[in-house]
């Protein structure tokens, strides 16, 4: 074992600090550099839509299953979308088996918030026959390997998968109440907005790290996630506890976030096109 590794084990804090003093991180990145991101869509054929996303070592997969359901009594002409994030022990020893832990809950709720507040899709379009039949999209995000920055990865995979979704033609017969499902999956889901999230780890008053690894998250105190729409409007911001931040830092985050928007969305575009060509 090299002296470096020993040092890391015995004095993780100092080890880490020594890097930050050179404005570097243990993985060689600067403080405001993001990790390379790769996206593949249509990875799961059984799902109506799916995508796999790698940000550095963090790997996340999202599969969208569409099912027919009866609309809720109070909203007779709306469909459903149910995001759910799963963190199994296989992706990191941090997580235990059994019911979803706090972090998984938080992530699921985060995606739900983004859906609602960005108004990305109009649920009425998911309705086939008012009060009788509607689509229910189950979006299950599974973390394959956890190395920090779950929220960003989850959101990207979710967005990619959703844009990959193709629904079959469905007709509903009034009299006979029979449901006919078309064979070929053709209809895409129309998205009104494409929110992009950017996560920062707060290490101290001055130092914040974009796109944190698991190590960064452990060393830092609390994350801030800023979600922006294409036009740079703020969609949601998620900061719970952690280091105090001033109003200026927030602005800084937003500026960094804006840079990310195009980059990520283009990435997704490209992935979608590739998949088109493949099929």
């Amino acid at each position: 074992m090299t002296s470096m590794e020993i040092w890391k084990i015995f004095e993780p804090d100092n080890y880490y600090k020594s890097f930050l003093e050179q404005n570097k991180r243990p993985d060689g990145r600067g403080l405001v550099d993001t990790r390379p991101i790769t996206i593949k869509v249509g990875t799961v054929n059984t799902a109506e839509g799916s995508a796999t996303v790698r940000i550095g070592h963090t790997a996340v997969m999202c599969g969208v299953k569409a099912e027919l359901a009866k609309p809720a009594l109070r909203k007779p002409n709306e469909g459903f979308i149910v995001p759910n994030v799963e963190l199994y022990p296989c992706c990191s020893p941090k997580f235990k088996a059994g019911p979803p832990g706090e972090k998984a809950m938080e992530a699921s709720q985060f995606i739900k918030n983004v859906i609602i507040s960005s108004k990305m899709l109009n649920l009425e379009e998911l309705c086939i026959k008012s009060n009788k039949l509607a689509w229910c999209l189950y979006c299950d995000v599974v973390c394959l390997n956890y190395d920090g920055n779950l929220l960003d990865a989850a959101l990207v995979s979710f967005m990619a998968a959703l844009q990959n979704v193709k629904l079959p033609e469905v007709t509903y017969d009034e009299e006979t109440e029979r449901i006919h499902v078309g064979l070929d999956r053709s209809i895409p889901v129309i998205l009104k907005a494409k929110p992009v999230s950017t996560t920062f780890t707060l290490w101290s008053e001055e130092i914040q790290l974009i796109d944190p690894t698991a190590e960064d998250e452990d060393q830092g105190s609390g994350e801030v996630t800023v979600v922006l729409l294409e036009d740079g409007k703020m969609c949601t911001i998620n900061k719970s506890g952690g280091q105090l931040i001033t109003h200026e830092t927030l602005d800084l985050f937003v500026r960094h976030g804006k840079e990310q928007i195009k980059k990520i969305n283009d990435c997704i575009e490209r992935a979608l096109i590739e998949q088109m060509d493949a099929s």
Partner: protein, 210 residues
């Protein structure tokens, strides 16, 4: 800013308790500890903090669990956790009556209950919610109805010293200028809330001869 009412020393069995009302939202908070803790979540160097939030109707769903985690992370920052190792502090929040401001009311109630229990803290903290009406106007501490109408809802938690942001929680989209405007408005409101805390504590100590 809608009317704030609060009262402490509410429950005889709890170490600290408070009832906090903002407008129509009423939350009852109870704090116990620092007390003993199960070996499973005992930490050698710090206090274990358990927060339990239950909504006014029925059992808590995933949404409430998310609120819970926001609240607990906020409190964990404010209290000095390393003073009483191998102990636990329980914070239990019960929403008695809901009118849209569950989060901010709960956080303020929790802070007041912690003060009542005399738990050692770095500073007080206070939460303010505001929403952007469809007209674009910023409404501080809106009602449920107003929130339904609004395009975005933001909740900030500030510390009691420099009023820096301790937590922020946003639903709905708005551009960053409006966001900053909200931040500033809420900061002012937060100062008033801290004043309310002070007033309440002074009232509690009114019998100490000075």
């Amino acid at each position: 800013m809608s009317q704030h009412l609060c009262e402490i020393g509410y429950l005889s069995r709890s170490d600290g308790s408070s009832l906090y009302c903002i407008g129509g939202t009423v939350v009852l908070a109870s704090v116990n500890g620092p007390g003993d803790v199960k070996a499973s979540n005992r930490h050698y160097n710090r206090t274990q903090l358990d927060v339990c939030y239950s909504p006014s109707t029925g059992q808590s769903m995933i949404g409430e669990r998310a609120l819970e985690s926001v609240i607990s992370k906020t409190i964990e920052q404010a209290i000095i956790v390393h003073l009483h190792p191998r102990t636990a502090i329980n914070v239990t929040l019960q929403e008695m009556q809901s009118d849209g401001l569950a989060l901010s009311t709960s956080i303020n109630a929790a802070c007041l209950a912690l003060l009542d229990a005399g738990v050692q803290m770095k500073s007080t903290f206070s939460a303010v919610t505001c929403c952007i009406a469809s007209s674009g106007a910023i409404i501080l501490e809106p009602t449920e109805a107003e929130i339904k109408e609004s395009s975005a809802v933001v909740t900030f938690v500030f510390d009691g010293l420099e009023y820096n942001v301790l937590s922020a929680y946003q639903d709905g989209s708005l551009d960053s200028d409006t966001f900053n405007l909200c931040l500033i408005k809420c900061q002012l409101a937060a100062k008033d809330i801290t004043a309310i805390f002070r007033k309440t504590i002074e009232d509690k100590h009114k019998f100490d001869k000075s």
